[in-house]
Symmetry: C2
Subunit: 264 residues, 2 copies
Amino acid sequence: MTRQQLFAQIKEKNTFLCVGLDTDLSRIPNHLLQEDDPIFAFNKAIIDATHDVCVAYKPNIAFYEAVGSAGWEALQKTLDYIPDTHFTIADAKRGDIGNTSRMYARAFFSTMDFDAVTVAPYMGIDSVAPFLEFDDKWVILLGLTSNQGSQDFQLQTNNQGTPLYETVIRTAQTWGSPDNLMFVIGATHPEKFADIRALAPEHFFLVPGVGAQGGNLEAVVSHGHNDLGGLLINSSRGILYASNGKDFAQAARQQALAFRQKVM
Amino acid sequence: MTRQQLFAQIKEKNTFLCVGLDTDLSRIPNHLLQEDDPIFAFNKAIIDATHDVCVAYKPNIAFYEAVGSAGWEALQKTLDYIPDTHFTIADAKRGDIGNTSRMYARAFFSTMDFDAVTVAPYMGIDSVAPFLEFDDKWVILLGLTSNQGSQDFQLQTNNQGTPLYETVIRTAQTWGSPDNLMFVIGATHPEKFADIRALAPEHFFLVPGVGAQGGNLEAVVSHGHNDLGGLLINSSRGILYASNGKDFAQAARQQALAFRQKVM
């Protein structure tokens, strides 16, 4: 999916919402556990209930790996079920030496057919470049993450006073373009959003941390958007687990609608 | 496996060798492609031929993911086949916010039963801590990697002149101990090995980069070992693909023996 196509979806649906599919067998409604594939049954119901009020889906790969090869099958079925109109993100935080990143890129872009994969920057250019070589595919590189541990290294400044996340965002712009590279910028750092937008004016940001992690949605939108949208704002737990009764999918839809109400 | 048990294996086998199972369908001998599970058939033959001359096996998870759910089944069979005497490493470079790293830890330590998993440090303490909560399991944290891209961020110095990899190694020692935390230190930086050993005298180092990447084995061993061994030196391609004929397993064994000869 191109940047223009993604922006067209944002305008059509009138939302920046990305639904994070962090599907956890210990949290989905009990009645689904009798299904052949409870993870897919849950995801299918969530997609049915939310696809007209979101622009992207982001399966969190850890939750599928945790249940072994059955998890990979549920992931593939979920990906196949997501409408072609929606941007799909494998939230995988991968990254390794070149020949290995090439295999991860193959896993998510060829064996599966995601539009984007999240990538960790620590290993530098040759760990990221193999993902950028695929046409019409996207790298979403970790910039400034939403968690407490973002302070350990990402906010450490170098000998010119530049924090690491800023060096990452500047450097990576020499590797990819606004048409194949986005950045993860956590909503829990609202005071930094204007500066980060100035640093990468044209790139999309994938923004986690607005729900369970307590980020500031209003600041993200007002300082983070750009002329082509520029934002995918993720919500996972707040939407998926709004109810754990039989009304879980409708409750998820209500949360997605409430999100749009708050933002637009 | 404890640090003492690992050291006992190093003494018994008289080697630091870890065999990296980067099993690539496009590189394994043609005759294996007729097997039901060519990846497992290859790994089984490699394990049979090398287990008495190595102390660890390190499946590179990317190569299994790249073939989808069949890859995860081959990985599980491989792990089950590795003798209990051997240290097993899931080379996965994972790391995410706490609730997600907990799922990755479950994937590799509970759903599967690896001794160790490689973890990327960019997201800081809460991305690493969930892996450290498992008894008798190990985190192998990226310190200074073997690839060209290690120069992009890992070698950048902070306002006190300390390179990032050193900050990572110092900081992580407050999270884990020499009994549950190792570091990845690439063999392609031999001039730094003595300093890094001084920085973390008791921790094991997992050392990639001696084969196809051209690292300096002698410098690694002379500056990198410690009183309890302290080194797992990985070789993947140099061993796995020493021959692509029917003698591939014997050729792999010869490479493993040659490695021991060079080191000891």
